[in-house]
């Protein structure tokens, strides 16, 4: 079992504005080993992005607050670090890429400058060394080095995402957090980018936390999977546990039921009824109970804890 790189224990995060308090994360536990790719799956508002942002403490200033829990990275608890120490980790040891490539690059700076910036921040290299590193990274992601003088608006969506990935990996970080990296791209371009990310994972041995709502993407490139609902991880395990095991959390069953199957012809989908819970007043007990077809009396009152098999955990009273 490779060595644990990231270990999130019992993480609680609230968004406090003067009108209301949004309880975004409610006790998240997550473990990621070196060189491993974990898929974090969930619908809008499940708390995927909040989890990612709290690792690097990029939550909106004095509004997104970590109220409880630790985030251990390579032995150190990130939640306790001061801003200066965190800054050294961001971009060098952990880097992050975001969903919409169109707006993630600064329109007025050349692509080369923006990649060089992260190297300047963390590595003490002279100008020539930095330039050659920039060229190397661009070639790595399949973009001709001579285009480093061009501006973001001269690249297509797919190309921009490659630049962003090159930028994130240019300091050879141990962990890359990718928040829905290919959602905004077309299917064919998404395929190209996912292939590239898989190759880079093997070549640079970078651990990756891939956040997405597309179970297909998770199946294709992830080693382990965690499914989030209303700020909690309700099921996690290896890809085999999630895609091939028999027992599943009712929400996971509902998710798979909502996706049209490409192979057989199904007449009607089996969607999950009702709506996502309101994060300002979450239901008692199991947060999924209002929408759960197998809801029992206990589910309404008692919060279920993890039923742990060797690698597969499910947070549901059905599987005591």
């Amino acid at each position: 079992m490779s060595q644990t790189l990231l270990n999130i224990k019992n993480l609680y995060v609230n968004y406090e504005t003067d009108e209301e308090t949004v309880r975004a994360l409610n006790g998240v536990n997550l473990k990621l080993n070196k060189g491993e790719m974990l898929g974090l799956v969930g619908e809008t508002g499940a708390g995927k992005t909040t989890t990612a942002l709290s690792i690097l403490k990029l939550l909106p200033k004095d509004i997104g607050i970590i109220t409880n829990g630790q985030i251990e990275f390579d032995g150190k608890d990130l939640t306790k670090l001061k801003e200066a120490e965190l800054r050294n980790i961001r971009g060098e040891r952990i880097s992050m890429i975001f969903q919409d490539p169109m707006t993630s690059l600064n329109p007025v700076l050349t692509v080369g400058e923006q990649i060089a910036e992260v190297i300047e921040l963390h590595k003490t290299l002279d100008k020539k060394q930095i330039e050659s590193k920039v060229n190397e990274m661009l070639e790595l992601v399949g973009i001709p080095a001579k285009r480093k003088k061009e501006f973001p608006h001269q690249f297509s969506g797919g190309m921009k995402q490659r630049v962003i990935i090159a930028m994130a990996l240019s300091c050879d970080p141990e962990l890359l957090i990718a928040d829905e990296p290919t959602t905004a791209l077309d299917v064919t371009i998404q395929a190209q980018v996912l292939n590239m990310m898989e190759e880079l994972k093997h070549k640079l041995n970078t651990a990756m936390l891939l956040i997405t709502h597309d179970l297909g993407v998770v199946a294709q490139i992830c080693d382990k999977v965690a499914i989030m609902y209303a700020g909690e991880i309700i099921e996690s395990g290896t890809a085999e546990d999630i895609f091939e095991a028999k027992e599943h959390h009712p929400y996971t069953v509902g998710l798979f039921g909502s996706i049209p199957n490409l192979i057989e012809k199904t007449n009607r989908l089996k969607p999950i009824l009702g709506l996502m819970p309101d994060p300002t007043d979450l239901p008692q007990g199991c947060k999924f109970h209002p929408r759960c077809p197998q809801c029992m009396e206990i589910c309404r009152k008692v919060h279920p804890d993890d039923r742990q098999t060797e690698t597969h955990t499910i947070k549901c009273h059905l599987y005591k």
């Binding site: 990029l58 800054r87 050294n88 975001f98 329109p107 910036e117 921040l121 608006h153 930028m167 994130a168």
Partner: protein, 309 residues
């Protein structure tokens, strides 16, 4: 790029023709006879009459306009009824003072406006934000002549630091510059603050933070350049207005700028001066707008791409 500049300058011609017609009609179709004004109410009727003849004021309005346009195309903008000197000699006599005043006050307004705007955006809802907003609002809320008078009272009379009038030496420029700058500074501060707030929320700022860049570096390297693009327009427009010479400040500080010349020309119905000055200002205003657009292209590569096609 040059094709674009020439096209923009070509577009200037219809605008100038339009303006010249509007101003020409306002001045000539309204009461008040220039000849009588020049000779005063003592002069006899026939003295006024042959001066009218001399200045060609008796021809119908349209004929005078056409002859005016005809001669101005050839470069002859006529000479002032009052001084008899060619129009642009008077205008260029007064223009350097107004230009200096406009430059100094725009410099001061930008030097103060932008940093305060940035600080109050970065430290939103803090005391600095509140204080700078109140200060900016106060400046726009006070009539400029009131500010001017107060400045003279305090700095010239009581503290005796700056002169009341006259711009022989540089000290004469201080109080008028502060008066003029107060208004544009307020606008620049508010504009910078709102664009900075906009830029701070952009995704690429979040990417920069994820790269481990400090807030200071993000503000200087990423935010300011993007935030300044719309601010440049505001500075351009304000500079154009200042070039028109602010009559009020010039009256209070007894500075013979373009504004005073133009207002007294309007009152005296000195048509050639009014037309010359308005056309000169229109050209200056359009050139400034063109410069603003070119600066746009320098700052924002997306805009440059548009022009070079």
């Amino acid at each position: 790029m040059y094709k674009y500049i020439i096209k923009r300058l070509m577009m200037l011609i219809p605008v100038i023709l339009g303006i010249s017609f509007i101003v020409f009609s306002i001045i000539s179709l309204t009461p008040g006879d220039p000849a009588r004004i020049i000779l005063g109410n003592h002069a006899s009727e026939e003295a006024v009459e042959n001066l009218r003849q001399e200045l060609g004021l008796n021809e119908p309005f349209i004929k005078r306009y056409i002859s005016y346009v005809g001669s101005s195309i050839k470069g002859d903008f006529g000479s002032s009824y009052r001084t008899g000197k060619p129009v642009f000699e008077d205008i260029f006599g007064k223009f350097p003072l107004t230009l200096k005043l406009a430059l100094f006050s725009m410099l001061l307004a930008t030097a103060l406006g932008i940093p305060i705007g940035i600080i109050s955006a970065v430290k939103r809802y803090s005391i600095i934000d509140g204080a700078s907003m109140i200060f900016a609002l106060l400046m726009t809320s006070m009539p400029s002549f009131w500010i001017g008078l107060m400045l003279i009272l305090i700095f010239s009379i009581k503290l005796d630091i700056f002169p009341v009038t006259g711009v022989e030496n540089i000290k004469g420029y201080v109080l008028p510059t502060i008066t003029l700058a107060s208004f544009s500074m307020a606008i620049i501060t508010r504009m910078t603050r709102s664009t900075m707030l906009e830029v701070i929320r952009q995704d690429y700022v979040r990417t920069a933070r994820a790269k481990g860049a400090s807030t200071k570096r993000i503000i200087f390297k990423h935010c300011i350049r993007n935030a300044l693009i719309p601010v440049v327009t505001v500075i351009g427009i304000n500079f154009g207005i200042l070039l028109g010479g602010t009559v009020i400040t010039e009256t209070v500080f007894a500075l013979p700028g373009l504004g005073t010349l133009l207002v007294s020309a309007i009152r005296m119905k000195d048509m050639p001066i009014v037309m010359g000055a308005v056309i000169f200002l229109a050209i200056a205003f359009s050139i400034i707008n063109l410069l603003v657009d070119l600066i746009y292209a320098v700052i924002d590569p997306r805009v440059k791409a548009q022009y070079s096609r």
